[in-house]
Amino acid sequence: MLEVQGINKSFGGLHAVSDASLFVPAGKVVSLIGPNGAGKTTLFALISGFLRPDSGTVIFDGTDITGKAPHLICQMGLVRTFQVVKPFASLTVRENIAVGAHTRIADRKAALAKADGVALLVGMDAMLEQSAGDLTIAGRKRLELARALATEPKLLLLDEVMAGLNATEIAELVPVIRTIRDTGVTILLIEHVMQAVMSLSDYTYVLNQGVMIAEGEPKTVTSSPDVIEAYLGHGAAERLAKMEARDA
């Protein structure tokens, strides 16, 4: 569904993403993890057209979309959400979702009806008339998801939709994402909440300082020494292993 090959992006002297590649097969949930500042959101921006890569290619559904405008990429069926949520604050939840629906539907009534359907799917049906500006952070994250979903994507890029949510809210959202996958939408997600990564994803990539340092099944990847060191610092893997040995 999505193939990123050797993509590079620098801001001045900072290599935000260096020679990163990843592959997302159709119908799967693939996650992208890595410590803060690793370049995950930059990679999303490169894929979705918000930033133009210095080199490398992005192939979506068999078409080269490298450097294409974001709205064209969305119309082709690849949509992203934002980590820092961007609700249309003065509109209601229904109107917000309808903006996404309008990407495929010209008629206003049909777009609003579609919004109702999407809201039901993500569990926002009780909040349809609420102003998006009055939503809690959990509500806003859900709204990001709903709006993106209303554009009828083939591939959904979710940028930390769980961040800032409490345990209950996360437990509510995980099945929602699973349902979305079951309707045939492929998902690539950035996530720090490991509970969600482990339970949702079929495959995981780890980005650190702009470089892909590991990939594989979520369980294998998270126990890899490189990954542990990327998160916890040099020597951490060794110390952890010692501690585990002692405890055993």
């Binding site: 979705s48 918000f50 405008a69 974001p70 709205h71 969305c74 119309q75 949509v79 992203r80 959400t81 934002f82 961007k86 609700p87 249309f88 604050a89 003065s90 509109l91 109107e95 309808a98 903006v99 996404g100 309008h102 990407t103 539907i105 010209a106 008629d107 206003r108 777009a111 008339e129 709006r147 993106a148 554009t151």
Partner: protein, 338 residues
């Protein structure tokens, strides 16, 4: 407010506007109403791009003046019928608006930068219209010939010497018709995909892009619609006063009037510019008649009070008069329909 409440509100407003002048036999009051509706249309032209699209223009005089000049010059120089000239005026203004929009939006100018570039264009046209004497007749302006033949009143789009009804009400119902058409277009826009996408651009341009909206095209569409509506004001002005000069056409006063009405009335609402215009003109006239006269008819006294009221409205009614009306409505209907 529910759609039904809105529709009944509109029915009352429009019926009042349609019938009120018939009970006023003073030319001064009909003139007052004409200018109120004129600014209401001018304000709607600004509101499409500024209120719905969040792109605050400070130079709508550019659009008004271009329309007025095309309307005046085509008649003055080539003797073209005003009924034909008006379409050239509208098309010409849309072209100018599209050019300004293309340049600004292509290079991502937003907020105060967009306001400044529109102001700069209006000022440039002011200077040009003064200096290009061979085209625009320069600073002395264009004076159209007055038609004194009642039989030609409609053909010349001049009602000063028309039959009894047309003479008194011709221009009032002209601007009323323009208002009906432009407000109907805005009403339709608000309920269309284009309107939804325009508001999305105002609320958050990045999110709009991510959701597949061609924000450049949407903004360009808005400035074209804005231009067409503002052009109709220019056409109307020339036909009513038969005169246009650079200061009136491109000076800042039209730009300010265009944005005051919707800001006071309620940004991004259909009725906002009309409410704002009625309020501005009503307060202006009332203060002139009371305080102005009490202080011995000194000019400008009304402007001081006017300014104070403006500041108060802006400070305490961020959503304009529409916000106030909605809050009162909510209270009266016991919060049943928000």
């Amino acid at each position: 407010m529910s759609e039904r409440a809105r529709l009944s509100g509109w029915t009352i407003i429009l019926l009042t506007l349609a019938l009120l002048p018939l009970y006023l036999h003073s030319a001064r009051w009909i003139d007052f109403l004409e200018m109120t509706l004129f600014v209401a249309v001018l304000g709607q032209g600004w509101n499409i791009l500024g209120g719905y699209g969040g792109q605050y223009s400070f130079g709508n005089a550019l659009l008004f003046g271009t329309g007025a000049y095309i309307q005046a010059l085509l008649q003055f120089k080539f003797g073209i019928s005003p009924w034909i000239a008006m379409w050239f005026a509208i098309a010409g203004v849309v072209a100018v608006g599209a050019m300004v929009g293309f340049l600004s939006f292509r290079y991502g100018l937003r907020g105060s930068y967009f306001a400044l570039i529109t102001l700069a264009f209006a000022e440039a046209f002011l200077v040009l219209s003064r200096s290009l004497k061979s085209i625009t007749e320069g600073g002395s302006g264009v004076q159209l010939a007055l038609n004194q033949d009642p039989a030609q009143a409609i053909a010349t789009f001049q009602f000063n010497f028309a039959g009894p009804f047309l003479k008194e009400y011709g221009f009032y119902y002209t601007i009323f018709t323009i208002l009906l058409v432009t407000y109907a277009i805005t009403w339709w826009m608000e309920r269309s995909r284009f309107g939804a996408q325009l508001v999305a651009v105002r609320e958050n341009e990045d999110a709009a892009l991510a959701l597949g909206i061609n924000t450049f095209k949407v903004k360009l569409g808005a400035i074209c619609l804005s231009s067409a509506i503002t052009a109709s004001c220019g056409v109307y002005y020339v036909q009513k006063f038969l005169f246009i000069e650079p200061g009136i056409a491109f000076g800042p006063s039209k730009s300010v009037e265009a944005l005051f009405a919707p800001i006071i009335g309620g940004l991004g609402t259909v009725v906002g510019p009309l409410l704002g215009s009625v309020f501005i003109h009503g307060v202006g006239e009332a203060t002139k008649m009371t305080i102005g006269q009490a202080l011995g008819g000194r000019p400008g006294v009304d402007l001081i009070l006017f300014g104070t009221i403006l500041i108060l409205v802006l400070a305490f009614l961020p959503r304009g008069l529409v916000g106030l009306v909605e809050a009162v409505w909510k209270r009266l209907s016991g919060g049943r329909d928000a």
